[in-house]
């Protein structure tokens, strides 16, 4: 025979209800009887006071245990041991601690070793990238020093500036040579007068050798001045030649500008392709430059013939 929930609860509360009463008793009556039972079992003041006194006794026991525990003795002993330690013992203890720290450092590398590792890694990555760029597998990074048009423009402008400076140097030498030539002419004029005088003296006093000797010396000096003048003239011609050759700076600049123009047009095309609209100033470029391998280049004879034809 199975028990109902009420019967189980009643049993748990120590109630023994007769079967007929149990079956007939409504839930409310059962609850009231349960409440009465709990109230009948509630603690009296005396019980509470007794419990409290027991608790106080337990606290006193715990405190006494703490006061008399081995902990206090252990600490005192450790402190006393430290006081009594010899220097050798302290050194060995310090070494032990340091060894422990070394082990810790090995486990967790310090900041400086980490920086070195970072640097080594960066260098390795850099070398690898450079190798790839050299092989042509990676493109050059777009840095100011590798931007083709701006670099070419810089080369052209720098060359122009330096060509101007070279021209200054050549002009200075030319101007200096002109001054030397002027001074040389004055010396020649003086020597001519000296030669004229010494010639007259030599003719008038043929027996006096010194006039003849001085005349020959003056004539030799005049030859030297003539040689100086010739050398300076030759030097001037070389300087003019160098100046003429500097035309190639302009020719090369125009070749560079032609390449720049092609790259700019290519850039415009690519920009158009990628729907980017950026205007730039078009530079006039030469079509046929000296040195080009082009059959359409005009020769000196052709040029003269053309000019003659148009001059008619």
């Amino acid at each position: 025979m199975s028990m109902s929930q009420e019967e189980i609860e009643a049993l748990m509360n120590g109630l023994e209800l007769p079967d007929e009463q149990k079956d007939a008793a409504p839930e409310e009556e059962l609850e009231e009887s349960l409440d009465d039972d709990v109230e009948s079992q509630s603690m009296t003041e005396e019980d509470i006071a007794k419990l409290l006194s027991q608790t106080d006794d337990e606290d006193e026991l715990d405190m006494g245990a703490l006061k008399n525990s081995d902990v206090k003795d252990d600490i005192s002993e450790v402190l006393q041991e430290i006081d009594n330690m010899k220097e050798d013992d302290i050194a060995s203890a310090t070494d032990d601690i340091l060894n422990e720290n070394d082990l810790l450092e090995e486990s967790f590398p310090s900041d400086s070793s980490s920086e070195e590792e970072d640097y080594a890694f960066t260098e390795k990555a850099k070398n690898w990238t450079e190798k790839k760029i050299t092989k042509g597998e990676f493109p050059f990074p777009a840095e100011p020093s590798t931007k083709v048009v701006s670099q070419l423009n810089e080369v052209a402008n720098d060359s122009e500036e330096k060509a101007g400076q070279i021209f200054d140097v050549l002009s200075y030498i030319l101007d200096d040579n002109a001054i030397i030539q002027k001074s040389n002419k004055s010396i020649v004029a003086f020597l001519d007068k000296e030669i004229e005088l010494l010639n007259a003296m030599s003719n008038k006093f043929p027996n006096i050798n010194v006039f003849d000797e001085r005349l020959k010396e003056a004539q030799r000096m005049k030859e030297v001045t003539s040689d100086i003048a010739n050398r300076i003239s030759a030097e001037d011609m070389k300087l003019f030649e160098a100046m003429e050759l500097m035309q190639f700076n302009d020719i090369n600049r125009q070749k560079i500008e032609r390449v720049m123009s092609v790259i700019r047009k290519l850039t415009t095309y690519l920009n158009n392709l990628f729907e980017e609209d950026e205007g730039y100033e078009e530079i006039a470029v030469a079509k046929h430059i000296h040195g080009d391998s082009n059959s359409d280049l005009v020769g000196a004879e052709d040029l003269d013939a053309l000019i003659a034809e148009f001059s008619k």
Binding site: A286, H288, L306
Partner: protein
């Protein structure tokens, strides 16, 4: 005798000036302009006897300058020599049609310029 040298390269202007001086002219005998526009301004202010001009220049190129000189202003009959790197037959013909009197292809020597200069000044 007054010469106007037109070239965007300062080195070229100096080279031409130097050659002109070799021919017996002095620094006072010539002026310089770095493009066609500046040359046109010079021509508006002064009287010149000959123009030595480059072709490829910014702002106003040599060909445009020649066309403008031939069509307007006080220098319509001035002798013009074009000194340029443009060495193609078609370019020479274009320049001659525009009105240049003579044409020199860079690089040139002092003798060539002298010869051409003498030719246009006759």
């Amino acid at each position: 005798m007054k010469i106007l040298i037109v070239d965007d390269s300062s080195t070229m202007r100096r080279i031409i000036g130097n050659v002109v001086m070799q021919l017996g002219f002095t620094k006072d005998d010539f002026d310089e302009a770095e493009d066609g526009l500046k040359a046109w301004k010079e021509l508006s202010n002064k009287k010149y006897d000959v123009i030595l001009t480059d072709w490829n220049m910014p702002n106003m190129n040599g060909l445009e300058l020649v066309k403008r000189v031939r069509s307007e202003g006080a220098h319509q009959s001035i002798p013009i020599i074009m000194i340029t790197t443009e060495g193609g037959k078609s370019e020479v013909i274009t320049a001659l049609k525009a009105g240049v009197n003579n044409y020199i292809v860079k690089p040139f020597s002092a003798d060539i310029l002298k010869e051409k200069l003498d030719g246009v000044l006759k």
